[in-house]
């Protein structure tokens, strides 16, 4: 009903979840179903010399054994890195890379049989770190990429940054490191594939991106996409870890087609660690010029990403480490150089915040250092340099509304910042940090002019409304946003509406639950579809009531004369009247983001219809004797644009605080390289939920959440994103709080007790009170820097030294077998 939006409500899928009735992928059970298990590489980097599947194939209960021979076609999520095969055809690139698959009558039989597959490997050099990969070009982990084992290096400059930094009153030059971490969704990835009676393929999978899986299956299996149906089952959490098409999905699809039986796979937790696609470990160097009153004259940023063994979203991740700095603060000149290298570890990719938390950490900790040197309050410093609203940044990102100043004011107020900062006793401290994030990527992954989200509505004479959309419910509440938007426009209750989502046969394409795009893009598409339905109903009812159409109101399941509310019909009657007049009532809506102002190569990463903003204050309690650290309280304020359902918004903010604290305090996607004289082994240090440390309820602090509503015209009802942005300030705010508490700088995450104590002991010995990386490597093969003139210097969004090439790329038609060929 009008009044749905902004009200804290029970989510529409809540009942199914709390009563255990949500059907996740592993709950899909089909008659005659058989089970799949993958054989994964035990070596980090090797050529496959020979695979003998004879023993496994003759094992009782085994139906099928597959190897790389069955999967000649590569795929990948980005068109520029289709570097994955469902099963490795000729070489393995990390411990966990899938080599073969067994499909058997049950999981235990399949698990036994994978050990009967004999594989002979010829070991290749193990690359354990970016330093290794930069130092040795051969052998290459992949035969593509920039050079040697460098996957991608980019260099962009916006304005004369060198002169701007040289002319600054102070220059700050800091190196930071952000450790990799993984998503840790409660649900392990699972997929069921089956052949329909008519021969078509159906795949149920815990995927955040059914559309991209649809494309990948069409390509890898060389099948018409129209003969493939992908159903994204509700995800038990995704956080970016289920946004790539995965080996196991392609394998069970092929197996189901070959066997003509349903095939299921459910990964173990260890295998989820191998799927990974989590936070890239990033080493970064920030050189920043500031005036004595705290204004930034220029930033020169370099980042080095440890990409792991495959491309994944890595090219985008690389750009994201440098894209959004300018959206938060006013940075008149800027140079960004980013480099991603391949290593023999599970591939990194997008994790909540995708590429931006690392750079955000460096920038926010450096700002804390700047404030201290300038003897300014860190909150005051930030308030002075917040980017202007409704502006174009140096790198051509168009900013909408900005509620960041209000966010800063709220956390400063609520936390008692002015009384506490630098005034608490030794061991107690507060730290502040800010951030911004995309409300959906402005450009599609596969280059085309098609909408990013589509919604169809069906209204029938029962008064029932069904909303169809390709968006995927991954726990964030996208189904609830969909029905809330429709309910608001049509004046009915969210529970009156049935949501059909994430099914490529039934629902129009939505690009997926990633990049914080769903609320904004699906929301706008839903509003358009609902508005069109409302117009039909309003016309029909206006005729019936004989009033002008503008006087027809929709509220409380009624359609009535706004001037005489007692004159009207029920919503169901309105649908019947409209159906009698116009025939079957169905409408559509779609959303395409505005064109980006950035025309330079690489400018496709960063644009968004609008950006969310967050400020956070983290309080720490550090034992100066041991370094032991506890977080008692977090105050956080988020510019949500408009809060569609505050219950969900607060849940996302608190979940972000939780995940941020995990990254800040303990999470590490760490590896063990055994002594090279004895072994080539390079293994994940602890692929289990026991030893990969992530906080529990007991570690969760008090969280005070404030929502700031800046009503952005680009958003549905004014809304922005909330799924990712609130995570970003937590890590730097915590590091800054440690400095306030005990006077040491931990310039890397996680901020562990060991590091704090080490820094305290160094401080006591008169050495630098800091733990963090010392240098940024000098041997990165940077390409020629693209020079882009900022808008205020008359730039047009193009690079002056980029050859203007006429686009010869054929527009990608959407979904087809040839979709996303390497460009």
């Amino acid at each position: 009903m009008s009044g749905v939006i902004g009200k804290a409500r029970r989510r529409v899928d809540g009942r199914a979840k709390v009563t255990g009735q949500t059907r996740f992928a592993d709950d899909v059970m089909l008659p005659r179903m058989v089970h799949c298990k993958l054989l994964r590489s035990p070596v980090p980097h090797a050529r496959i010399v020979r695979i003998d599947t004879t023993r496994a194939a003759s094992h009782p209960g085994v139906h099928l054994v597959l190897t790389g021979d069955s999967f000649p076609i590569s795929y990948g999520v980005l068109p520029v890195s289709h570097d994955e095969h469902a099963l490795c055809p000729d070489k393995v690139r990390f411990v966990g890379d899938p080599v073969a698959a067994v499909i058997a009558r049950d999981e235990a039989t399949a698990a036994e049989a994978v050990h009967l597959i004999d594989v002979e490997y010829e070991p290749l050099r193990t690359y354990a770190s970016p330093d290794d990969s930069l130092a040795h070009a051969e052998p290459r982990i992949h035969e593509y990429g920039d050079t040697g084992n460098v996957h991608k290096a980019v260099s962009l400059q916006f304005g004369d940054v060198d002169t701007a930094i040289a002319g600054a009153d102070h220059v700050f030059d800091d190196v930071f490191f952000f450790e990799g971490s993984t998503h840790l969704p409660i649900e392990q990835h699972a997929t069921v594939a089956a052949k329909d009676p008519d021969g078509k393929l159906v795949v149920w999978s815990s995927t955040q991106t059914p559309h991209y899986l649809h494309r990948a299956l069409a390509k890898a299996l060389q099948m018409p996409a129209a003969h493939i149906r992908v159903i994204a089952t509700p995800n038990g959490g995704g956080f970016g870890g289920k946004s790539d098409p995965f080996n196991h999905e392609v394998v069970v699809a092929r197996a189901a087609l070959l066997l003509d039986r349903p095939v299921k796979i459910c990964l173990t937790r260890e295998e989820v660690f191998y799927c990974h696609r989590g936070r890239h470990p990033v080493l970064m160097r920030f050189r920043t010029g500031v005036t004595k009153d705290g204004r930034i004259t220029g930033v020169d940023l370099q980042t080095l990403l440890d990409g792991g063994a495959y491309g994944s979203y890595g090219v985008a991740s690389t750009f994201y480490t440098g894209a959004l700095q300018t959206v938060t603060y006013d940075i008149p000149t800027y140079r960004f150089r980013g480099c991603r290298v391949f290593t023999n570890k599970p591939p990194c990719g997008p994790k909540r915040g995708h590429g931006t938390p690392q750079g955000r950490f460096g920038q926010e900790v450096q700002l804390d250092k700047i404030a201290e040197r300038l003897r300014m309050d860190p909150a005051e410093l930030r308030l002075r340099i917040i980017a202007p609203p409704n502006s174009l940044t140096a790198n051509y990102l168009r900013i909408g509304t900005i509620g960041l100043a209000e966010c800063v004011h709220r956390v400063v107020e609520r936390s008692g910042w002015r009384e506490k900062f630098r005034h608490l006793p030794l061991g107690r401290g507060l730290g502040l940090a800010c951030s911004s994030y995309l409300s959906g990527a402005g450009l599609p992954i596969n280059w085309n002019d098609l909408p990013h989200s589509g919604v169809q509505l069906k209204l029938d004479r029962s008064g029932g409304v069904t909303a169809f959309c390709g968006a995927t419910e991954i726990g964030q509440g996208s189904d609830d946003v969909l029905v809330a938007a429709v309910a608001e426009v049509l004046g009915i209750d969210p529970f009156d509406i049935r949501a059909v989502t994430g099914d490529t046969d039934l629902t129009p394409v939505d690009l997926g639950s990633y990049s914080s795009r769903v609320t904004l893009m699906m929301g706008n598409a839903a509003i358009e579809a609902a508005t069109r339905a409302r117009e039909l109903l309003a016309q029909a009812v206006s005729r019936k009531l004989d009033i002008p159409v503008e006087r027809v109101w929709f509220q409380e399941r009624r359609v009535f004369d706004g001037d005489a509310p007692e004159r009207g019909v029920s919503f169901q009657e309105a649908v019947c009247i409209a159906e009698a007049q116009f025939g079957t009532i169905g409408t559509t809506g779609s959303y395409t983001p505005p064109k980006s102002a950035a025309k330079f190569k690489g400018g496709g990463v960063g644009p968004s219809p609008t950006y969310s903003y967050t400020a956070a204050v983290v309080e720490v309690d550090v034992d100066p004797a041991t370094g032991w650290i506890v977080v008692p309280t977090v105050w956080i304020a988020h510019d949500i644009g408009r809060s569609l359902n505050p219950t969900l918004v607060r849940g996302q903010v608190e979940g972000s605080v939780y995940m941020g604290l995990g990254e800040a305090l303990m999470e590490e996607q760490a590896f063990r390289r055994l002594p090279p004289r004895l072994s080539n082994a390079l293994v994940h240090k602890f692929p289990s939920m026991l030893e990969y440390k992530s906080p529990t309820f007991l570690e969760m602090p008090e969280v005070h959440t404030d929502l700031v509503e800046s009503m952005d015209p680009a958003g549905p009802f004014g809304a922005k994103e909330v799924g990712q942005g609130p995570l970003l300030p937590i890590m730097p705010a915590l590091a800054n709080a440690v400095y306030d508490a005990v006077g040491v700088r931990i310039d890397e995450v996680p901020v562990t007790p060991e590091k704090i104590l080490k820094a305290l002991l160094q401080k006591a010995a008169g050495k630098p009170a800091r733990v963090g990386p010392a240098v940024f490597p000098e041997n990165i093969p940077w390409p020629e820097t693209l020079m882009v003139t900022p808008p205020w210097e008359g730039g047009d969004g193009r690079a002056s030294n980029e050859p203007v090439k006429k686009s010869t790329r054929k527009a990608d038609a959407g979904v087809e077998a040839t979709a996303g060929v390497r460009s």
Binding site: R40, P42, V43, V95, E107, A108, A111, C266, T268, E270, D621, D623, A625, T626, G627, W628, V630, M666, R672, L674, P675, L678, S679, A681, V683, H684, K685, F686, P687, S688, L690, E691, K693, P695, T696, F697, L698, E699, T752, P753, E754, L757, K758
Partner: protein
């Protein structure tokens, strides 16, 4: 998910029957109590018994007998079986090996008379795991190591280690012995309480001090013979004794100890130490007693200086290696801090703030 390998399952109703099953083929038979240690290990193929003898149906193992009075612990299944083989002395306590950790921490007598044991037991893992895990299981807990507590596939990728299927100890490649870590919370505490354990086999039974139950070897970490069943833990009378347990772990729930100090002491009216036992946990392959630290305290009052000196002496015996959570140098340093907290608590200091910070609960 990871699946169990095939095995034969025996469900005896008496200790005698269990001992008989065990004596059939002790080399490839293992005992199952709560299963929280054994079953995951079997899924990871760390332990592959052909036969599993379950102790859950043996009622006589699930009783706590305190000061001669027997009380069936909750959830023990069958009503009282035969009485335990030994009655404790007045004030002493006999704990059946299959008493769950949850039942132990629910027992008010334990909390009142043996606070250190209560503190140790309530800090084992999570409530769910304590509902299943038993005191006997915790004492027999397999030693742990980040090179060992991994799936078969993972261990294959490092070509295994000497504890299972391999030859080398990756923690220290020249080590002649396995360096897996004693990770029991109750073992160091019960050793500090001078507890004894009863071992029963088909051929007889014996009672030994808990300190003689352990070897400092990650593989042969128990002196128990393969055909013996740990049936009960005998805690001597605690009259006049104070006890406490301090545990280091990353999170206030769930995690195994990566360093711990258990302390028990009897003070006279003037606060002088008449007797004291200090044991370091999770910094070696067995709980380590700290006789030098104890000697520094006997006959002395627990001044700050004495506490610092004794804590330093506990620190010196700790031998952490790089095979658990946290850096080993820092872990070793934390032993000093844990010992200091433990001794201050025995002195009567209010240590609730420190406890809250470390354990996320004042206990």
């Amino acid at each position: 998910m990871m699946r169990l390998p095939a095995f034969a399952y025996r469900a005896p109703r008496t200790v005698h029957e269990a001992a008989q099953w065990l004596s059939d083929s002790p080399g490839d038979t293992m005992l199952l109590a709560g299963g929280t240690d054994l079953l995951p290990n079997m899924k990871r193929r760390q332990q592959m018994p052909r036969t599993v003898v379950a102790l859950r149906g043996i009622a006589e193992l699930a009783a706590i007998v305190s000061g001669g009075r027997s009380v069936e612990s909750e959830g023990a299944g069958e009503p009282s079986g035969p009485t335990p083989a030994r009655r404790p002395g007045a004030g002493g306590t006999v704990i059946g090996a299959a008493v769950t950790l949850a039942a132990l921490v629910r027992d008010d007598r334990i909390r009142a008379s043996i606070p250190g044991l209560w503190q140790a037991a309530i800090q084992v893992a999570t409530p769910h795991l304590r509902n299943m895990g038993t005191i006997g299981g915790n004492l027999c807990l397999d030693t742990r190591c980040t090179y060992y507590d991994q799936s078969f596939e993972w261990r294959k990728a490092i070509d295994f280690c000497m504890k299972k299927d391999g030859r080398i100890c990756w923690v220290a490649t020249s080590s002649p012995r396995c360096l897996a870590v004693s990770s029991s919370d109750t073992a160091p505490m019960l050793q500090a309480l001078d507890a004894r354990v009863r071992l029963v086999s088909a051929s007889g039974q014996r009672e030994i001090p808990l300190t003689a139950f352990y070897n400092n070897d990650g593989i042969q970490y128990l002196t128990k013979r393969a055909d013996e069943i740990l049936t009960e833990v005998i805690v001597p009378e605690q009259d006049g004794w104070r006890s406490t347990y301090w545990k280091l772990r990353r999170r206030g729930s769930f995690d195994f100890p990566v360093a711990a100090v258990a302390a028990a002491a009897r003070l006279d009216a003037e606060g002088r130490v008449q007797a004291v036992r200090l044991v370091a946990g999770a910094v070696s392959s067995r709980p380590l007693s700290a006789p030098k630290a104890e000697a520094l305290l006997v006959g002395e009052t627990l001044t700050d200086e004495r506490i610092v000196a004794a804590a330093q002496a506990v620190y010196e015996i700790a031998k952490p290696m790089d095979n658990t959570d946290f850096e080993l140098v820092w872990r070793k340093k934390m032993v000093t801090s844990l010992a200091t907290c433990a001794l201050r608590e025995l002195r009567g200091d209010d240590v609730r703030a420190a406890r809250q910070r470390l354990a996320r609960s004042i206990l």
